[in-house]
């Protein structure tokens, strides 16, 4: 089961009551179901042949920890380990709860069955899963990967993913989009990809992908627990997407490189992740929807005071390139806002061709398994690269519950130009799950 952000609740006491009710319910459910330790990042078998040399060290906090906290997070750790494996890539064989592969906005909880199997001495990894969420988002995926070719230097694989996303949020394009233009659309897409990963060093990977997206369908929002927002077609009838009788199929090709020196993927305390990549989308119908996208991203972690304090800095730049007669359909537009980016804003609050984000976060170990955090997020979107700025800001504080290098729960409260935002997630804000993703992200998820 994967909870998603509770959302932003500017001046909305009714919504606030719902949030607290849901949070209490979730806590209760965690207690009943053996700790629904949840994650966004899918298990990554490509690290199965590698090995982390040290188990995650537990840093004592500034205050003595009540025993109940330690026992609660141990319960969550076990469930997380069964679902997603360990830091060293020890992904388990057999049935597992599908806790990932659901995009932001799917609702506060989701779940489904999965099955995976290693074969031929860890050389072949097979995985299949399906899930449904609170808002009736549905996903199904199947993956086959040859993981440890050429002494673990090369992995090749293929994945097919079907998504039915019932209520994706869209506020319009540009820096000046207004909150009151909130709309929703229903997106269905089948995504098939073949990929190869070359690892000249354990920490360095070069990735190539070739994929195909079968005619996404964009329609009025459906599903359960609808928020009552109008459909995107009603609010933005002139958008080029609605000028098409049907969306084209796309093929895409991507080349990227990543240097990952983080000590832990799911709750880094030192090291960094630095990546750069380019992806080209080409519409099959020779229509106006072909474009390229470049990304540069870095996250760096500095431990202080014997790792009781960790400073994290994150920067992300996304730039779109396209011919004058081309445009980017809104479901592919880079977007900003929500639980991992501008935390006081709604998820998917801003869309445009280019995106810039900078975040700084300080985590302080209050107890052994609980950190307090303070953060500042700044960024914006822009039609032209030169128009990017850091004018949209969020400042806030939060709590993180963690163990064994994994964050199990994150509560953030942030304030910005559009009011207060409250975030409850079960993964770290800088986990950067998109790095482990195989298929192209449709829609673009910040």
């Amino acid at each position: 089961m994967t909870p998603h952000s509770i959302g932003r609740l500017a001046s909305d006491p009714e919504g606030l009551r719902h949030v607290f009710a849901k949070t209490a319910l979730l806590a209760l459910l965690c207690g009943f179901t053996g700790g629904t330790a949840l994650a966004q990042a899918p298990a990554d078998p490509a690290t199965g042949g590698s090995s982390k040399t040290t188990p995650a060290a537990e840093t004592a906090g500034f205050f003595a920890e009540p025993r109940a906290i330690g026992r609660g997070v141990e319960l969550a750790r076990r469930v997380r380990f069964l679902a997603n494996g360990g830091e060293g890539g020890e992904v388990k064989n057999g049935l597992y709860p599908e806790l990932s592969n659901m995009v932001t906005g799917a609702g506060w909880i989701s779940g489904g069955p999965g099955y995976r199997q290693w074969l031929f001495g860890d050389r072949l990894f097979l995985d299949g899963s399906a899930a449904i969420s609170w808002r009736a988002y549905q996903t199904a995926q199947a993956r086959a990967e040859l993981t440890n070719l050429a002494r673990s230097r090369i992995a090749v694989g293929s994945q097919a993913m079907w998504q039915d996303l019932t209520q994706v949020t869209y506020f319009g394009e540009g820096q000046e989009s207004v909150e009151s233009d909130r709309s929703e659309y229903h997106l269905q897409a089948l995504n098939v990809v073949g990929y190869a990963i070359f690892r000249p060093r354990r920490s360095l990977s070069v990735n190539g992908r070739l994929g195909w997206i079968s005619q996404p369908t964009v329609s009025s929002p459906t599903g359960t627990f609808k928020r009552g927002n109008p459909s995107t077609q009603e609010v933005f009838p002139e958008d080029p997407v609605f000028a098409q009788s049907q969306q084209p199929s796309y093929h895409y090709y991507e080349l990227s490189a990543a240097l990952d020196t983080r000590d832990q993927r799911n709750r880094a305390t030192r090291g960094g992740l630095y990546r750069a990549g380019w992806v080209g989308y080409s519409a099959h119908d020779d229509g106006p929807f072909s474009f390229g996208r470049s990304e540069v991203e870095a996250a760096h972690f500095v431990p202080l005071a014997g790792s009781r304090v960790v400073l994290a800095a994150h920067g992300w730049l996304v730039a779109t390139t396209l011919r004058d007669d081309q445009t980017v359909p809104f479901y592919f537009l880079p977007s900003l806002g929500g639980n991992n980016t501008l935390r006081s804003y709604n998820d998917y609050r801003f869309h445009d061709r280019n995106l810039l984000l900078a975040s700084v976060e300080a985590r302080v170990a209050l107890f052994t398994h609980v950190d307090g955090a303070g953060f500042v997020d700044a960024g914006n979107v822009a039609h032209r690269l030169g128009e990017l700025n850091l004018d949209r800001t969020s400042i806030g504080v939060g709590l993180r519950v963690h163990r064994s290098g994994t964050t199990f729960a994150r509560f953030d409260v942030a304030h910005g130009n559009e009011g207060w935002g409250f975030v409850f997630r079960m993964h770290d804000s800088l986990q950067l799950a998109r790095v482990a993703r195989r298929t192209a992200a449709v829609p673009f998820v910040p």
Binding site: M1, L29, F32, T33, G34, G35, G48, G49, S50, S51, T53, T54, P55, A56, A57, E58, R71, G72, E74, L75, R77, R78, F81, L82, G86, G88, G89, E90, V91, K92, N93, G94, I109, S110, G111, W118, G121, D122, I132, W134, A136, N148, R151, S152, R153, R202, T224, F225, R403, S404, G405
Partner: protein, 319 residues
Amino acid sequence: MGRRLFIFPVFPALVAMYLPFCTSEVRLTTTPLDAPPARLWEEPANLANRDLFNGPWGPALAPDPTDRYSLVQRKHTGVNPGLTVRDSKGREWSVKQPFEASANEAPVEVVMSRVLSAVGYHQPPVYYLPRFTLVDDWGSHVEPGGRFRLKIKALKDRGEWSWQQNPFVGSEPYQGLLVILMLFNSSDLKNNNNTLYEYRSVNGIEHWYVTRDVGTALGTTGRFVPEKGRPGAFERDPFILGVRNGFVEFDYGGWHQELVRGRITPADARWAADLLGRLSDRQWRDAFRAGGFSEPIAARFVGALRRRIDEARSLEPQS
């Protein structure tokens, strides 16, 4: 529709919670004559001289801490990380590692294995290394150690056996084994921790009913998050609550309480306690040394175990 969706994830979760309690009736599966007790337990000859540091398989089979171990494959079962490695002599080892330094059940497992084998219960060759050098595709590096279990040709794993239905239910060795596990606050009385081994010896083929993977002990008992290897918790936790209707009531909160609730008599408890009571202080210390415990910590555990043994020995049948 909303409520139905809410039930969708909750109902299977509740069923999953309930299913582990739906176990078979505890009963014999064959007559004892068809299954000699030696398959589960053998009278420990020369118990006073048994080496609890090296264990029943001796130092010859122990892993060399200075060796380099090549990775065969990672472990894909259970809730602990682990891997299969091969040493320079070509021997394969199943290594159970800690998921973090402070929650290591491997030392406890080795201690339990030493004690069980000393008092007559069969055990595979297991040892503890605090760290070792692993060679994988990326080179060699020091890995956190753990429980090393040797794979030997003479000992073939033939699958699990059931706590609830086996040829020994009700026998002294079976009852005594449960008492010993209670005495150590072992929480993992699950069938997948039981292994039926085919042991090829000079006397022919023997079948061993082995309880292994017993590292969830020496702390508190519980289903989901029992503490393990914590002397303070172990010292504080009660052992026997009393005797009711002729059966010993244990303070046991772990899995499969039906195995011990209303089934263990004071005589069973005394039988097991007398067996353990024959171990000397040096043997107890050696068992904990084999698991890598420091002398002061071992002394605390041994003190608590001695008190529990006395508690079991002092039980009187209830009229």
